[in-house]
Symmetry: C2
Subunit: 136 residues, 2 copies
């Protein structure tokens, strides 16, 4: 947020400068009005596109990537997180057990601990909560 304001401010300031310079350099010679107009148009068009892309990019960061900090905060162990990922892929406990080369018992234990730590009652709810926490 602070960065956006700073960048926007300095950009506006420098554009104002350019604006003033071009205005004064025009006094007396009105045969290049078209050129100046075109330049101004292109510059502001590019600035518009650039600023917009930046702001949208910032928004996207709030939607996409995973948050490693919260995994620690929730005290999720490596194995528990692995199981969580497999659950979100739609696998059953047995399938996860085969994938990770352990027994179904072990997976059940992990899942139970997982549900407690995520404060979920079902694995589907765990998926939903994990995605809200940007853990998945």
């Amino acid at each position: 947020m602070k960065k956006t304001i700073l960048i926007f401010g300095s950009l506006a300031f420098s554009l104002l400068l350019l604006f003033q310079i071009s205005k004064y350099s025009l006094i007396g010679k009105d045969f290049e009005i078209e050129g100046v107009l075109a330049i101004v148009a292109v510059v502001f068009f590019i600035v518009g596109v650039y600023l917009n892309k930046r702001s949208l990019h910032t928004e996207k960061r709030l939607e996409g990537e995973i948050d490693l900090e919260k995994i620690k905060a929730l005290e999720l162990s490596k194995r528990e997180y692995e199981v969580l990922v497999e659950i979100s892929m739609g696998y059953s406990n047995k399938e996860i057990a085969d994938k990770l080369f352990v027994t179904e018992s072990t997976i059940k234990t992990h899942v139970s601990n997982l549900l407690v730590k995520l404060n979920a009652k079902r694995r589907t709810q765990a998926i939903q909560i994990a995605k809200e926490l940007r853990i998945l």
Copy 2:
């Protein structure tokens, strides 16, 4: 894609027109150069922002929003889709039943049909498949 090209083309054309008009109306009276420059700058800035937002919005449709066409293609009924949404929210069959004012039996029927149509074995897998199909 076609729409984007059309809109972009017509916008460019009309802007060219405005550009020409403003140019000719300026001949002889160079005391309003600043105003015209400002207007051109603002207009192109807005156009830049708008066009950029549009193109990014189109990209986002490939990531975010739901695809109503595929829901029809899969022959999912209204009720089945409602149940699918509730499942993805992490609710149990009983909870969904209470929410939709029907019995758990009904929800089970819907879920069963849902799994067949989505070619899933479990509700968690249904969520995963539905999200890949951009149904959720």
